[in-house]
Subunit: 138 residues, 2 copies
């Protein structure tokens, strides 16, 4: 893999997740993600649309791009699975990813609003295993 | 349509184009686009991957999101066609969209580098007609 792709996937830029929708159309949604051990990890509330669609068809894509020219772009295609995330694991994952995207203070405020008195319930983890990772400048 | 969706689609934010790839996987690519007369218009070099894929299967999606919380997000699903764009139409389209995304001076410099002595050749226009437009905050 191009080292610039790994570097870009490591930055807290919103990922654009593509998947086959339940209506047969491609869908694209912005997501927070973590790139860890060569996988892209995305948390989701239980039974959300993207989780239901990807449980049915795990073929997926994720794109990341900078906002200034020359645009640095990573485009990933791969296979995703949707796993149960226990409440404890979910809290741990969301706490880490919120801090990553929003900084320590912003992350803390986010989790406080999200956690609903400490019991957000179980969630889901979308685990995307890349088959192809392309890096390019545009 | 939610007026906030129309407002967001009118801003020069990179669009994230989703389509069914020739490999059967969803693909996501960042694109410049123009929202005009209820359609999303995207220019493409001739026979580029996205144009070939969308000519075969026009089902498509486009997502736009702001980079700061609360994220304002528009998610579009629709049907796309791929049309020939004559050199003159292509120059006009690219000149306008480059100025829209990069400003007058940045757009001018972009077109000067892109136009290759005045003859970039014919191109393609991807015309996406929305079936569903969702606006949400996240």
């Amino acid at each position: 893999m191009d080292p610039r792709a790994a570097e870009l996937l490591g930055r807290p830029i919103i990922g654009q997740l593509g998947f086959h929708g339940l209506d047969g159309y491609p869908h694209v949604l912005p997501v927070w993600f973590e790139y860890r051990d060569d996988e892209l990890l995305i948390a989701s509330p239980p039974a959300a649309y993207k989780g239901r669609a990807m449980a049915k068809d795990g073929r997926a894509a994720l794109s990341v791009s900078t906002v200034e020219r020359p645009y640095h772009i990573v485009s990933v295609v791969g296979d995703a699975t949707v796993e149960r995330l226990s409440e404890a694991e979910r809290i741990e994952f969301v706490t880490a990813i919120a801090a990553r995207y929003l900084g320590p203070e912003g992350g803390r405020q986010y989790v406080q609003a999200w956690i609903r008195g400490g019991h957000p319930g179980d969630g889901e983890l979308i685990r995307l295993r890349p088959l192809k990772i392309n890096f390019y400048l545009s």
